[in-house]
Amino acid sequence: MSSVKAQEMSTTASVAPRRTKTRRHLSDRAIQNLFMWPTLALLIAFNLFPLFYSLYLSFTNYSAIARIDPVWIGFQNFRNILQDRQLWQYFATTGRYALVSVGLETLLGFGLAMLLREKFKGSGLVTTLILIPMMLSPVVVGLFWKLMYNPTFGYLNYILGYTNPATAPDWLASRWGGTPVPGLALWAVVLVDVWMWSPFVMLLTLSGLNAIPEYLYEAAAIDRASPWFQFWRITLPQVAPLLLIAVLFRSIEALKSFDLVMGMTGGGPGTQTELIAVNLYRQAFLGQWQTGRASALAYIILIIVIGVSNLYIRYLNSIRGEA
């Protein structure tokens, strides 16, 4: 026992100076590098490299399943995409979808946040319950809502009082009592998106509302400011930055929305819910494998998303500047 102890001590003694030496060698810069370079390597391998490589592929006729080297075709893919009227229609559908869903989510999320701002018994539980939809997988949500929209046994028509499928709306088929109703399927998808993501807007807005100093309202009350004035001049400006961040995130997500639509309609009927991300997937995979063209389309989408985001960020900065 004692010999073991002695051995341990001698080992410790021999290691101790080495450790000190090692620690001395690890300068702040070394530690900084130790943390930074692996992250940077991963970033280059999995983000930057694919980004630049797909940019290159967008100028080629490459197909990921063909054993043929990419052939440089210049701007041909971009030209074809920009001249494709069908694709412009998908862009327009995506724009409509993003505008309506994000608009409704903002209104609903803000309204919910205002309601939940006042603490009441069980408000924590209510807040948690409201947040549940955004925690679910979009595909699962899509499949569940597909059942709820079913005109024969779905809850929605039943709640709305349509018990005869022959006269009821068939939401996802864009028909009402058998008659085509253009846009109905898109509205049905928007409704689910709003149900799922309004809580996200609510969450961010609620944190913004809770951060507003109480003394501002007290001062306003002393000055006999009306509730509307308080809302317009205190609440809204104070919460606007966080609200805009929520809108920014949701707009980016809505512009590249994919899984919810695929789960519910697959882009149909016809092209009614064919969002641009769904079509991108169709071109990149699903038997087509037009990797070059799909890369070009992805870059166009990226540029649009960056453009929209920049508009938001500029506005956000201007608001902050005013504040």
């Binding site: 280059i44 490589y53 063909a66 499928p165 088929a173 697959g266 016809g270 038997g287």
Partner: protein, 487 residues
């Protein structure tokens, strides 16, 4: 800092240059892989693999002489019951030869992606694949498959299967006599129906009184329409049919094809011309019929329906007749799944108004991967030779596999083995398929979009729809070189 940034950018640029600098393996033709002799690049269109001699059997010496003995073979297939049946079957092969055969299953959703990405890399993870009939063009022209023509012809294997299955599961280009796959799992669309309703005396009397002929399994699509209308009773929650409408991949096209082919229409003429063919009067009539069937008698809510949804419509007691691939009928004959299993019958597609009778093809053929060694290719061919034997095919069928063997399909044992087997055997003589050329995905995208818009969304006319499809198909085929410009 700027120096470091420069280094990072340099690394990225270097990586991109390496990736862009021809890292992709050369087309298969330049490596001693066998399929290349017959393969033409996609751009060359439908050029058949005239020289497509099967290299493995010519070049490869028996395994013992040429290299290390093959003790294991791997077959890639989709994850479903037939793959399990095949795994059971190959135990016999191991017992006979000592070669273990593994059936590697990949979920349907990623089956194609996994296979093609491996092929693009020239990978040899599997020796054989039981691939989709649509893959033939891509795999033949890009050298992924070994040309099996000489092997199948010299061993008489081509004579063992029904001609239609040989054409659509194995031949590329169609009519060229070049074979790339052995028809393994036959499949096509057929119908399941509620026998109890068809045989109910009151229903029979009422039907005959209304339509003037007895209620029975429909022999024509017009009769199918009559029966569907007769049984469509929304107040009872009962509807005439459940047909394919899904837009995602190929479902609605397969559904419409059943009708189109039986109306005498098709996707192309012998020179691949589509104008005037795709939008022929028969094709337009057929499409109109499909929409009429959807509007009058489809179970509500099935606006994006494929095999699961149509089966569910029968299981749930909503539909009287459902369209589906035969591969999905075992569930309907299983009392644990289908409460109406005992009263569910099956029939092959009825005939169109001009006497034609066809069914849209599903199913797969077994091919040998060209990137494996000659020894493994030989071992794979030996396996196919064993698998193609009539007694093995009979056992394959007994296990639940859908054989394409012409003799086995006609045996009483097979016909009595399952309630849907007689209809299957009948269907296997009248199958037709969509395009199987490398650009089939682009052609399919057009038909899916247009059929969904016309049938489900209810937009436009059948003539406008088929005209648009014909124009777009013509453009795609011309760009891909399958239609040469007129001189």
């Amino acid at each position: 800092m700027s120096k470091r940034l420069m280094w990072v950018l340099l690394v990225i640029v270097a990586l991109v240059m390496v990736a862009c600098g021809g890292g992709t393996p050369a087309p298969a033709g330049e490596e001693a892989a066998p399929a290349e002799e017959g393969a033409a690049p996609a751009e060359e269109g439908a050029a058949p693999a005239e020289e497509g001699a099967a290299p493995a059997e010519e070049g490869a010496a028996p395994a013992e002489e040429a290299g290390p003995a093959v003790t294991e073979l791997n077959i890639l297939w989709a994850q479903w019951s037939p793959a399990d049946y095949l795994q059971q079957l190959v135990a016999d092969y191991e017992a006979e030869t000592g070669i273990k055969v593994n059936v590697i299953q990949e979920p349907w959703g990623s089956f194609g992606d996994r296979f093609f990405t491996e092929m693009a890399a020239g990978g040899d993870a599997w020796d054989m694949v039981i691939g989709d009939s649509q893959w033939l063009g891509q795999c033949a022209t890009q050298g992924h498959y070994v040309n099996l023509t000489d092997f199948m012809v010299s061993n008489g294997i081509d004579q063992t299967v029904t001609p239609a299955t040989l054409t659509y599961y194995g031949e590329y280009p169609t009519g060229s006599g070049q074979y790339w796959a052995f028809p393994t799992e036959g499949d096509a669309d057929g119908w399941a129906y509620r026998k109890d309703l068809f045989e109910d005396p009151d229903e029979m009397a009422a039907f005959e009184a209304e339509y003037g002929y007895p209620l029975a399994v429909p022999e024509t699509y017009q009769q199918l329409m009559d029966i569907a209308k007769f049984f469509t009773r929304p107040d009872q929650g009962l509807y005439g049919v459940a047909i394919y409408t899904q837009k995602d991949y190929d479902a609605i096209t397969m559904g419409v094809e059943n009708v189109m082919f039986s109306w005498g229409a098709g996707w192309q003429d012998e020179n691949n011309n589509v104008l005037g063919v795709v939008n022929s009067p028969q094709a337009v009539e057929a499409l109109q019929f499909y929409r009429d069937l959807y509007e009058c008698c489809q179970v509500p809510g099935l606006s994006n329906a494929f095999f699961t949804e149509t089966n569910d419509a029968l299981i749930g007691g909503q539909a009287v007749m459902v369209m589906n691939y035969f591969a999905f009928f075992p569930a309907l004959a299983n009392p644990e799944v289908n409460p109406y299993a005992d009263v569910t019958g099956f029939f092959a597609n009825p005939a169109g108004p001009y006497g034609d009778r066809f069914a849209a093809l599903g199913g797969q053929g077994m091919s040998v991967i060209s990137y494996i060694s000659p020894e493994r290719q030989q071992a794979a061919l030996d396996f196919i030779k064993w698998f193609a034997q009539e007694e093995v095919q009979a056992k394959w069928a007994a296990l639940g596999g859908y054989t394409c063997n012409a003799n086995v399909l006609q045996t009483d044992t097979f016909l009595n083995a399952a309630p849907f087997n007689p209809a299957f055997a009948q269907t296997m003589t009248m199958v037709k398929d969509f395009w199987n050329i490398p650009v089939y995905g682009q052609l399919l995208e057009v038909t899916q979009r247009e059929f969904s818009a016309f049938v489900v969304e209810g937009v436009g006319t059948a003539q406008e729809t088929m005209d648009r499809i014909a124009e777009e198909h013509d453009r795609i085929l011309r760009e891909a070189g399958f239609i040469t410009p007129a001189p």
